[in-house]
Subunit: 249 residues, 2 copies
Amino acid sequence: MASATTPVPGSPDWWASRPPAPTYRRGRPPMDVDRIIETALKLIDEVGAQALTLRMLADALDSGTATLYRHFNGKDELLALVADRILGEVRVPPEESAGKSWREAATVAAEAFHGTLCRHPRAVPLLAAQVPVGPNGLRARERLLTLFLSHGFSVRLAARAYTALGHYVTGFAIQQYGPGSPRPEDQVHLRGYYRSLDPAAYPATAAAADDLTSVPLQEEFRFGLELLLDGLEQARLRESQVCGDAVER
Amino acid sequence: MASATTPVPGSPDWWASRPPAPTYRRGRPPMDVDRIIETALKLIDEVGAQALTLRMLADALDSGTATLYRHFNGKDELLALVADRILGEVRVPPEESAGKSWREAATVAAEAFHGTLCRHPRAVPLLAAQVPVGPNGLRARERLLTLFLSHGFSVRLAARAYTALGHYVTGFAIQQYGPGSPRPEDQVHLRGYYRSLDPAAYPATAAAADDLTSVPLQEEFRFGLELLLDGLEQARLRESQVCGDAVER
DNA sequence: ACCTGAACACCGTTCAAGT
DNA sequence: ACCTGAACACCGTTCAAGT
């Protein structure tokens, strides 16, 4: 029943089959694989994950493509490692969340995640492509789940809240930075496009042209986030009314 | 200021530069480009957009790769056409929305969109990668905006509601069907993985392992959608309280 | 006028030969 | 034991030669 094939890079099985700590072989410095990932991320930020070439990466490292294969088994593995590397950049100040409500803390966490994605726009498709289960992905998931649980969410609702928030942030970022809209000034282009449409055929779109495009994306992100949190607030109230039990104090 | 380069396939400029009607040249039947897209979609459903090869497509059409270039300028253009083709599959029964509330109608629309994405799981990255401004994308946007406007939403709120819903559906689908989780049985794998984690290091994730993975994804989709609609309902109430004016009847 | 075989530059990947 | 030049199969794309 269980397949004997190599696990898909980025999948749970793949991460589980990796050496637990960053592959310290013998007494050599651990610079190797980290430096490759760091350089790959820098190149991806410049040209995009699609356009990144192993030859390009090898050149930047003053090496050859064959050498890269001593540290990972192909480009897919490299991209999975880079994706988790980016997740490791998300910084949520833990001291802040102490005195704050779950809602404030969730807002800070979602915006920290979104901010990190904004710093690596060309890498967003990497993050959106799969459920992040690398070490840094696990850490982020754990932190967010703990946040909800510690504020009285049931396990069930906490799990759903995490998934909904994660989907929203990555979904938003990929539409914001997808390959179809690489330039920031595309909003203006898009507005002109909506305006130029036949008002008879597209009355609503033409009327909403400005509102569809003029809103700063940061503000738009906040708006959708507030919608989700409003909904979560109601779900939590419903839950505590029906069951009357908080999971923990 | 304006660049003289070829517009990016899938961008507004690119769509605008295309022949408005499906390129009827002379009196030849319009089967050509449509048949290519149809065949490409079938192949993408089987092997994924990444693995689709122009040679593979040409073979399936009993032709050569060079012939394909007579109908579009490269693979990116083909993929943009396929993406809009998929959007054209979304069917929202218009008669249904007549007697329904905006909330019911929005639910039907979101689930129709989600259902279409579920029928083409391997093509989802195509849809998530950019703002859809092809003819079918425009049609869907127009329909949804009209829905909100006709139920008293302000233009501003309607635009944001559309964006939030669209982000949610595509964001959800890409996480559901991304290349990292191609198989349906991966949920079970993922649960085993969460359970196998060190409970000391990941107490919340281990505790929520079942809730993170056992929920049917269809139900999970509904849950997040309800959250969004709850939030929209509140935003609409706030809006009508403050302004006191409905846009139209 | 339209189609296409054959080539081109380049990709990810492999391996035998180096040190 | 570790590295890597050089090759391999194959990709998207082009163009001169066919009909």
